[in-house]
């Protein structure tokens, strides 16, 4: 079970989704978004080769139906399967309406870093770069600060960026930002958060667009 902070972020991200959209959920917090999506509201795509991801009960588990995080999932009515090249053709070709991704850092141009940490011995990228260039809309989810209290919303990413593309929406445990006309706009405070906390924990310059 994920922690309440992650659940709150996932729940808020789910509210961004519109009826009938094709949505790809990344590993981590984004995976939890599935728990807050109403049945038949959106269609979940997973880049390992499936459209129509659904929750699965313990009894129904099929070990050969997994999502991009290699967790077993269920098959919605009308689901389909395809090979990895076809799956990424959908992604790069602009056929995915929304990608929700986890990030390590976001900068004030809404560029993200989520695949490599300098000095760390972990080598992997998966589908992150493809989703960033291909999805019509990208929403990223993250805790606002790292475990040692440093802001993840930076002036400039100091980890390697995942794409030159600017994401559309950033959702953290403290706030929701939209990237509009070249600037990050604070559009919403998460429940329990206040402006001072957001300001204190955000290195990036942003426009206060709270209503």
């Amino acid at each position: 079970m994920a922690n309440p902070i992650q659940e709150a972020i996932a729940k808020r991200a789910a509210q961004e989704l519109e009826q009938g959209q094709i949505v790809n959920l990344g590993i981590g917090i984004p995976t939890l978004v599935a728990n807050y999506v109403e049945h038949n509201h959106v269609y979940l795509h997973t880049e390992n080769g499936m459209l129509g991801v659904e929750d699965v009960t313990e009894e129904e588990i099929d070990p050969n139906i997994v999502n991009a995080g290699k967790f077993t999932v269920g098959e919605a009515i009308g689901a389909s399967y395809f090979d990895s090249a076809a799956s990424f053709a959908m992604i790069r070709g602009g056929h995915i309406d929304v990608a929700i991704l986890g990030v390590l850092q976001v900068d004030e141009q809404a560029r993200i870093a989520n695949w490599a940490v300098p000095g760390k011995n972990i080598i992997g990228v998966g589908g992150a770069m493809d989703l960033l260039v291909g999805a019509r809309k990208v929403i990223v989810t993250t805790t606002h600060t790292s475990k040692d209290g440093k802001s993840k919303i930076l002036k400039e990413c100091n980890y390697p960026i995942t794409s030159t593309r600017n994401v559309d929406t950033v959702i953290t445990d403290l706030a929701v930002f939209k990237y509009i006309d070249g600037q990050l706009h604070l559009v919403e405070l998460m429940p329990g958060a206040d402006l001072e906390t957001v300001e204190a924990n955000t290195e990036a310059t942003f426009v206060n667009s709270l209503k």
Partner: protein, 228 residues
């Protein structure tokens, strides 16, 4: 196409220095029987093209442990820290590709496409040193095709001609790799008579397939089990 009785015989064409594609996304759709035999072979200096390289000491991870891997081309080695360690020690080369680029390059290799332009990885560390080109005002990266000497893959059913169908998300890289290697070796859950697979449903026509064995290791809810 020929049906073999054992994975040892089916893999008798594997030699030191070859490039080998291995299907699967983690355990799902992986040719588990063939991988287990592959790691026992007395070969080295292999180039492995596979999304990931097993886990520590498991599956393809064993090949690495035994210093049989010269180079790994894949997208997500995160699940096996040995990969990063071996790379740091200079023991293996790594070519890290975005997952979409990995799969598209394998398709290109099988389709007679030498290279192609994708937006993916433009402006990132992964496109350093790669050619770029502008199409309609947008920047694209040139990626080259991947091919192999051998592909070992998993399918769900084969017929006696070698036609294949896949099961659910166990499809992943398998049909692509079936097109991109000189010798394609497949393990399947079941072999049926030609004509039993529906003609509109066949995912890999038999012209791509060289050798088939019945799988002895199957992924179940309870993990990988021996079978048959």
């Amino acid at each position: 196409m020929k049906i073999y009785n054992s994975s040892e015989e089916a893999l008798d064409c594997v030699h030191t220095g070859q490039t080998i594609m291995v299907g699967g996304f983690g355990l799902v759709g992986g040719p588990l029987t063939l991988i287990d035999t592959l790691v026992e072979l007395d070969v080295k200096d292999l180039t492995i093209i596979s999304n990931n390289l097993g886990e520590q000491g498991k599956g393809l991870g064993k090949l690495l442990e035994q210093n049989k891997v010269k180079k790994a081309i894949g997208s997500y080695f995160t699940g096996n820290r040995d990969v990063g360690d071996a790379f740091q020690r200079g023991e293996i080369e790594i070519e890290l590709l975005p997952q979409g680029t990995l799969s598209e390059s394998i398709r290109a290799g099988g389709a007679g496409i030498a290279g192609y332009y994708t937006k993916t990885s433009f402006g990132t560390d992964l496109s350093k040193g790669k050619e770029t080109k502008v199409f309609n005002g947008e920047e694209y990266v040139l990626e080259e095709a991947l091919k192999a000497d051998i592909a070992i893959i998993r399918a769900y059913k084969a017929d006696t001609l070698g036609n294949l169908i896949y099961y659910k998300t166990a499809r992943n890289f398998n049909p692509l790799m079936a097109t991109a290697a000189k010798t394609v070796i497949v393990e399947v859950d079941e072999i049926v008579e030609a004509g039993e697979l529906k003609s509109d449903e066949i995912a890999t026509p038999h012209l791509f397939v060289d050798r088939i064995i019945l799988a002895k290791k199957i992924l179940t809810k309870e993990g990988v089990i021996e079978h048959g």
